[in-house]
Amino acid sequence: MAVRVQQEDFDFGAEADAFAEGRADAGAVVTFTGLVRDRPDGGLREMEIEHYPAMTERAIAAIEAEAVSRWNLVDSLILHRYGRLRPGARIMMVATAAPHRADAFAAAEFLMDYLKSRAPFWKKEVTDAGAEWVAAQAEDEAALGRW
């Protein structure tokens, strides 16, 4: 189990590989990676991610502990960046390893749903026209209801 919150970029392939490597106890490894999505008009200059440092790691660790208590996992990893990111840049990743694929998938989706709405990060989109805070989506809040 690991949680990292950092400004620096991370090497998705190397992280995914190290996480999955030689897990004879697992069988199933799921990763999710979130990238900075450009606006449909291609006009995104950058995305700024603000966070609440004193709260972030403990909030994520609590979400992870909940996942571990619900599913049969052998490991998990949560990595989230903050700062100013370009379109296409990596924002975050989660990885789950489990004996069975259903657990690995469910835990990864649960982690994503909770990170999205319960970890103290806020995104701001900067375009040539100005900057705008990303609004929370009703569907993201609704997604929590399924767990």
């Binding site: 979130g34 991610i49 603000e50 966070h51 609440y52 004193a54 709260m55 403990r58 909030a59 989230h80 924002i91 975050m92 994503m112 990170l115 999205k116 709405s117 319960r118 970890a119 103290p120 990060f121 806020w122 995104k123 701001k124 805070w133 990303v134 609004a135 929370a136 993201d140 809040e141």
Partner: protein, 83 residues
């Protein structure tokens, strides 16, 4: 009672600072919000719609009726948009 109050995202921008120390006798978070609203228009603007705000008490998500007694840090921010 002395409290550290933090603001994030557009709450920080509207109030114009990321944190401040506040001397208060508020019993609940809602009381503290009322106090802040009365201060200056920028606070009134930031706290205009509580349904658009979230609060953390000592780094844990809380409700606006949470007690403030023995608390050292309260943070106000919009709904999170991580992931």
């Amino acid at each position: 009672m002395k409290l550290t109050v933090l603001y994030f995202a557009w709450v920080r921008e509207r109030i114009g600072l990321p944190r401040e120390t506040i001397e208060t006798d508020a019993a609940t978070v809602a009381d503290l919000v009322e106090e802040l609203r009365g201060r200056e228009p920028r606070y009134e603007l930031a706290f205009a719609d509580l349904s658009a705000l979230r609060v953390a008490v000592d780094q844990e998500l809380a409700d606006f009726d949470a007690p403030v007694r023995d608390v050292t840090e309260i943070a106000f921010f919009p709904p999170m948009t991580g992931g």
